[in-house]
Symmetry: C2
């Protein structure tokens, strides 16, 4: 049995019911990482969690319900960590670089989080909305600071998210590559109206260690 999981330790003092529920969510994250959301089977999830098949139905009505929950947990924890990293950063350009870099880093390094985030962006509208709100806030800040030249609406958010998704996906498939992360940031900034030179400089200045 996987001794440690993504969220299992959150349930240390909780009743059995909650611990099992977290173990299932944890397992779902791993299974999504291995096979993708569409091909993840309920039996994959229970087997990987080393629980009986029937246990699943004590906690979730169907596959969609646990996928939604797993994605929500990953998205929440990811945005929490990124937000923490940026608490005191005021510059919108810097915030975009830091958030994009960290989101990709967590997706690629964090075991199997990437597949969950990429899958949620594609298949789970409610989770996607939550994630894009953070992006929107920083883009809005950039407009207020007069550094971005964009029409900030749902479609623009989708396009930026598309760039970041590609940055994640290629690294998930082909291995981590800081250069690809940097260029993803640059391209997001170019989309926001910065010149190539300014974008490159902004990335160099603001990339977290």
């Amino acid at each position: 049995m996987p001794t440690r999981g993504h969220f299992r330790d959150l349930g240390k003092g909780l009743p059995k019911r909650d611990r099992t529920r977290l173990a299932l969510i944890d397992s779902a994250v791993d299974v999504i990482g291995a096979k993708g959301m569409e091909l993840a089977k309920i039996s994959d999830i229970t087997e990987h969690a080393e629980l009986a098949n029937g246990t699943f139905y004590n906690h979730f009505a169907d596959k969609d319900e646990i996928l939604q929950e797993a994605a929500y947990q990953v998205a929440t924890e990811m945005t929490r960590e990124i937000d923490e990293e940026m608490q005191s950063v005021e510059s919108a350009v810097a915030r975009i670089v830091i958030a994009t870099t960290q989101a990709i880093r967590l997706s690629v390094e964090g075991g199997t989080w990437g597949a969950v985030i990429v899958g949620a962006l594609q298949h789970l509208p409610s989770v996607r909305r939550d994630l894009l709100q953070f992006l929107r806030a920083d883009l809005q800040k950039g407009l207020e600071q007069g550094v971005f030249d964009i029409e900030l609406d749902e479609f623009f958010l989708d396009q930026v998210a598309g760039l970041i998704s590609v940055g994640m996906r290629t690294q998930i498939e082909m291995g981590a590559d800081p250069d690809k992360t940097a260029r993803t940031c640059e391209n997001v900034l170019r989309l926001c109206g910065l010149t190539r030179t300014k974008a490159q400089k902004a990335v160099l200045t603001n990339t977290p260690s």
Copy 2:
């Protein structure tokens, strides 16, 4: 039975074997459009084609084989039509605008081609490579004409393809919207180094009727 299909008429004078094969590919395109590549079942394809289940195996070894073939057919026909439209266009900027606009138009209007193209870009590396070669040629032309400021490699192609995919996907989901197509073109050009103003002007000038 669907009287007309995507490719069925190509097989008018051909032997029975080839006509049935085309009918299956045709049906696969529709099924992919309805359920996506991952969830398309062989039985969906034979039922929608109004053929017996066993017939499938006279023509294809497994699902992957027909998906590959269907995607290849759609991609080939799509690039053929786009290429025709651009035969005499020399300006790289114009070619990018025309190709992007037409690719999205064919994806969104052309019944179910969009899902096939988007699915192929994600799941079928060989088809994706073929499609990206066309994009690469026009970007290369832009470099030679001195109008683009980019590092032209696989990753950049993936990022541009990501923008175009988003343009397709949102319109497949939410209905055709010429403004989204125009802004997708603009954003591709911004990634290539044009200013927002120049990109907007280029789109206005070069959007096909």
